[in-house]
Amino acid sequence: MRFRDTIVSIITRFMLPFITLFGMYLIIHVHLSPGGGFSGGTVVGAGFVLLSLSYGISMQSRKFSHRTSTLIESGGALAYIILGVVSFLYGQPFLTNLAIFPAGEPGRLFSAGFIVLINLAIGFKVASTIIALFDSLGGEELH
């Protein structure tokens, strides 16, 4: 990249772990606090967009290549469908939650059946969608 701003790149280097951590917090605490797969995935994706804005898409594709993002993109939807199909093995309708998955104690982190797992799938999918979208609109060669 021809032009790189010192302040922006250094602040990005400091902030990127915290942005990603906040996004993962939004995704994982979906059953306890406001948030969820869509909003948390957007935060994670926006962190990587910030990285590619300040360091160039070539730097960003070293961390999170185009091929990885497309694989995660398809894998998120596939994981969602597999979590729904699991209930067929127990003779329940598609996407059954508490009859199969352990309920846990409401209010704890490990509770609420498959809600957290589904939101993890959605979150990874949305994050990789944002990253792949920005990469393909960025105008650089990606292969």
């Binding site: 059953h31 306890l32 598609f94 809600i115």
Partner: protein, 100 residues
């Protein structure tokens, strides 16, 4: 021949969809699940039925999980369209008339 196979497949798919549609409850029937289940009942029972304290996420990813699945499919379709139009697909020639 290709068209014949395509039309046959579409007719079989359409018959499948039709057989599902005639089993659906009549529109506007007060006995429909959408009309019988009140929002108050969902709000009161969400914690014990889904184990999630956040009622919004329990509605989105438990009661209406199938809707959310297709929501993520919309994202997939959008990104597939973007890739198809914007990325260079390594075609030897720019002439696409022969492929249609």
């Amino acid at each position: 021949m290709k068209h014949l196979i395509a039309i046959t497949l579409l007719v079989i798919l359409g018959l499948g969809i039709y057989s599902v549609i005639i089993d659906m409850p009549t529109f506007g029937d007060p006995e429909n699940p959408g009309n019988k289940i009140s929002q108050q009942k969902i709000v009161n029972k969400a914690v014990e039925e889904t184990g999630s304290q956040n009622v919004v996420s329990s509605i989105i990813t438990d009661y209406r999980a199938f809707d959310t699945l297709l929501e993520t499919t919309v994202l997939f379709a959008a990104i597939a369209g973007i890739f198809a139009t914007l990325l260079n697909n390594n075609r030897d020639s720019g002439d696409v008339n022969n492929e249609i």
